[in-house]
Subunit: 206 residues, 2 copies
Amino acid sequence: MTDKKTHIIDHAIELFAEKGFEGSSIRDLAARADVNVAMINYYFGSKEKLFESMVADRASYTRGVLDEIANNSALSDIGKIERIIDTYISKLFTNRKFHRVLHQEMMLSQRETLQHSIVEILYPNSLIIKNVIEAGVKKGSFRKVDASMVIATIIGTINQVLLSKKMCNKLLNKEDSYIPYDDAKFAKRLSDHLKQLMQAHLLPQS
Amino acid sequence: MTDKKTHIIDHAIELFAEKGFEGSSIRDLAARADVNVAMINYYFGSKEKLFESMVADRASYTRGVLDEIANNSALSDIGKIERIIDTYISKLFTNRKFHRVLHQEMMLSQRETLQHSIVEILYPNSLIIKNVIEAGVKKGSFRKVDASMVIATIIGTINQVLLSKKMCNKLLNKEDSYIPYDDAKFAKRLSDHLKQLMQAHLLPQS
DNA sequence: AAAAACTAATTAAACGTTTGTTTAATATTA
DNA sequence: TAATATTAAACAAACGTTTAATTAGTTTTT
């Protein structure tokens, strides 16, 4: 991928994250990326194909690390879950804008083909976590829980605090200008909560 | 509010839920609601004002019930949480399309005034739950937990399974055509998970 | 090494649609 | 008759996309 294409994609992620795909115009994007309008269609073919290129370009951004954790035999089952939580939080904090775009587009039921490719990216991650949980349940190191729902809880909690900024700032008594992504303390707080939650939910009572 | 206005709002919620606000056109809406394009601007003034009217019209759709639960002295603290969970699930299942529109628009950082009014609707609900949790912590019937994060977990989990249909169907091994809203068993499963989760997390270990 | 030929990158302008909105005329109701 | 509701048509602006001309960069030929 050429420098210019990546440059356009960078700005596209930012714009789409702010205004959504439908809300963003090629001319907006061209102005931001400081390129001619025609360049976008010249490089990507169309607005929709630009989106697909964007997704393809930034696709595999978590899988590998999760796989490593899941297969690390030095870790206990609950240890794996805790590592996964930290990995997920750190990755989503870093790629927050791209994650926002993915999440938004996944929620709109239109554009079937695109939704499919988004799910292709995110689903394998969920599956890794699901397997860890179900293995733990089988072994007896975890209680009998609804693994799919546990994943929804982990990912849903992170999404909730990361994606609805205004709502969360109100809940956390922060000013409107507060941006959680910049605050390491906030990441720690989120991580601590999820770990505590998972320990209580997953571990058998002694 | 006249019959015709409500009729238009009904279809607007449906359309916005499917295509998003930016992705929906006045002409689309007019065709769906079977009214002349000009009627929408005649009644609401503009597309944006239509959205505001929609929000205003469907605003108070949960508050009252939550308040009752929070003040019901016959219920234990964990009993209150369980009731709140069921109420929330049932309300979101019923008003699912409106909820989807609200959530989508809340995530976009644009349209500041509109975001503000959305938060005005949803925040009080969160506050009621937060108060119940913090009261429980003070009394000692709950462990010392991060109340704000607990709310993010409850609402985030529900949103996760309700709003990203395709992803969740995959996780739950359902076909693409499966619609969780129509399935009472699914609501039960979600409710059971959240209750079990909250009991483990909130109740002191015996 | 210089000139020519060719490919790729870049541009401003225009294309045909679609957008939200307004108008001005007509129908309906009170 | 007067106010309200409804319509088809037109409006200007914005949209994604295409065109056709120009510049820059590379390769080939002399």
